[in-house]
């Protein structure tokens, strides 16, 4: 009973240090069952370290971590069978065909998906009998995704899954993830594409310098202030102006009234280069990163892939 109610991922005070360098500096994070969380942040902010700790690949320095009710540091085979992991870097020796590789991996799980259905879901039906070494980069990435979901995971880690996809492939991939979400799969997604995070995520968390600096529903990330629309225009004296306002239409109307009439019938003028911008997730995110970089004393340190304590 407690199990069912407990979140899929629960992290409290997570820290990870490599010698003197602190990669993750006290993270609290919850992912509810069935939820998709987009973890955002620049390279070296601690995203990958955090995910690898949750996946059981790295050990934490301190803090509490529970993933599907177990500590990843000691999670066994049964625990792993509930996870799907799509790593950041594609890894293929390429000696096997798509179907051979998926069939092999499906055999490791107690309740795998049908291999041909998975191949179809990632759009590789035409390539099922082709060796992975003969596939394009984007197609190999789809194999990675297929290998991540073939075990019918309850919790899916997607680490920059669509890097190298063309726009159409990315749309198809989004469709696939939407279907997994509809089946109740919990997803932890990292991506550099903010439109992808906005499309797929229920919530987002922004990690900077090893800390979570913002967290919330996609539409509310950064707080109400970050969402106030921006009106930009060039004024009569040729100066670029920008103003944030909850009532952009009112401001625009005022600007129009102010502007000198430019037509013979005496209607109001058009303010030059007028734009009304409703900050997108990307705008909010970049604003957060800029603010953090301006205020933080400690620089964001990149952690080498093979760093060891």
């Amino acid at each position: 009973m407690d199990q069912i109610q407990s979140p899929a991922v629960r992290v409290r005070g997570l820290r990870k240090a490599y010698g003197q360098v602190t990669a993750v500096d006290g993270i609290d994070l919850d992912i509810a069952r069935g939820e998709t969380l987009a973890l955002l942040g620049p390279n070296g902010a601690g995203k990958s370290t955090t995910i690898e700790i949750l996946e059981g690949y790295r050990r934490r320095s301190s803090g509490e971590v529970s993933v599907l009710g177990a500590d990843p540091a000691t999670g066994g085979r049964a625990w792993r069978s509930e996870l799907g992991i799509v790593l950041q870097s594609a890894a293929e020796t390429g000696l096997y065909t798509v179907r051979e590789q998926l069939r092999q991996f499906a055999g490791y799980y107690p309740n795998p998906r049908d291999v041909d259905e998975v191949i179809a879901a990632v759009g590789l039906e035409q390539k099922a009998g082709t060796r992975i070494s003969k596939l394009s980069g984007g197609q190999r990435r789809r194999v990675d995704v297929a290998l991540g979901i073939v075990g019918r995971p309850q919790l899916l880690f997607l680490d920059e899954p669509t890097t190298g996809f063309d726009p159409e492939a990315r749309r198809e991939f989004w469709g696939l993830i939407e279907r997994l979400k509809a089946e109740g799969t919990t997803i932890l997604l990292t991506t550099h594409y903010l439109d992808e995070a906005a499309q797929l995520g229920d919530r987002a968390a922004v990690i900077l310098g090893g800390r979570i600096v913002a967290e919330g529903a996609i539409a509310e990330l950064g707080g109400p202030a970050a969402r106030v629309p921006i009106v930009r225009w060039r004024d009569a004296s040729g100066v670029r102006r920008e103003q944030r306002t909850e009532r952009p239409a009112e401001l625009v109307a005022a600007l129009a009234a102010e502007a000198a009439p430019t037509t013979a019938d005496g209607r109001g003028g058009e303010p030059a280069e007028l734009e009304v911008i409703r900050p997108s997730l990307e705008d909010v995110y970049l604003e957060l990163v800029r603010a953090a970089e301006a205020s933080t004393v400690s620089p964001i340190v990149a952690i080498p892939e093979e760093a060891r304590a």
Partner: protein
């Protein structure tokens, strides 16, 4: 619909039936063997190499006549003399060279990390590797024997005792080599450096252990050095199986010393087991 959308760990935990460690391991054997034969480097430098060397040595030295244990005794053809050494080299290559390079490559390209993220047991992984070494080793030895008998006219032994010796030296040597290969795969820092690290070791061993050079013609210090490593004992065991009894006088102590062969191979098997157990990781894991 609600049944699908409300997964519960508690409910599923009871029904989770992981595939068996042995079953997964056996399914990996076929997969690994397929991968082996799809790698041109492996097929040439591991699978066919002893056969090619046997051909070269037979072609190069046959003109100088048969090899005999002493003046006035009956000798055997060059092909027949080199066959046991090449069988032993095949066992070493199939185990040590093949697995050390293969696993270092899987570590380098992230395959081990990916497998470590699945419920696959490392034991299943090793069953797959050992099965691959065993299967390809048997095929390799079979091919060597077949070509030696049909192309090079080598007379193969007819006694059951000789084949029994061959069988246990082969099995013991193969298991020891495979485990040593797994252990050695931990040494290269990258997939690209793997062949540079592994091949020289294997090559030097073949030169000092009586594979390419007649063991009895080597200086004593080199024979003693070679005796510390498993290949010398595999080659000696193979000679015991395939050469006539009177060739025993050419060995270091004038006998086949099969007891020592067994003991040294067992020692190396245990070293390989312990070292691979201690060094193998799915990934280079930090603290």
């Amino acid at each position: 619909m609600s049944a699908v959308t409300t997964p519960s760990t508690a409910g599923r935990a009871g029904s989770v039936r992981l595939p068996g460690v042995l079953a997964s391991g056996l399914s990996r054997v076929g997969y690994e063997v397929r991968g082996y034969f799809r790698s041109p480097d492996t097929v040439f430098f591991t699978f066919l190499f002893p056969l090619i060397m046997l051909g070269i040595f037979t072609a190069a030295f046959s003109s100088s006549g048969d090899i005999a244990p002493g003046p006035g005794t009956a000798g055997v053809s060059v092909g027949a003399y080199y066959l046991p050494g090449m069988l032993a080299a095949g066992v070493l290559l199939s185990g040590v060279q093949n697995l050390a390079v293969d696993i270092a490559g899987e570590k380098g390209d992230g395959m081990l990390k990916r497998l470590g993220g699945t419920p696959l047991s490392p034991v299943s992984y090793f069953i797959g590797k050992l099965g691959q070494v065993f299967t390809t080793g048997v095929l390799q030895a079979g091919l060597l024997l077949l070509v030696a008998a049909t192309v090079f006219g080598v007379e193969l032994p007819t006694s059951g005792e000789a084949w029994l010796t061959f069988a246990w030296v082969f099995v013991l040597g193969t298991v020891a080599s495979a485990l040593l290969g797994i252990a050695l795969s931990a040494v290269p820092r990258s997939a690209r450096s793997a062949t540079a690290v592994v091949v020289p070791i294997v090559l030097v061993l073949q030169f000092i252990s009586g594979v390419y050079l007649q063991f009895s013609a080597l200086p004593e210090w080199m024979q003693n050095l070679a005796s510390l490593f498993p290949l010398k004992w595999m080659a000696q065991g193979m000679r015991a199986a395939f050469l006539p009894e009177d060739f025993a006088v050419m060995e270091q102590h004038g006998t086949w010393d099969l007891g020592w062969v067994a003991l040294w191979l067992l020692v190396w098997l245990v070293i390989g087991l312990v070292a691979s157990r201690l060094t193998f990781r799915w990934i280079r894991r930090d603290a």
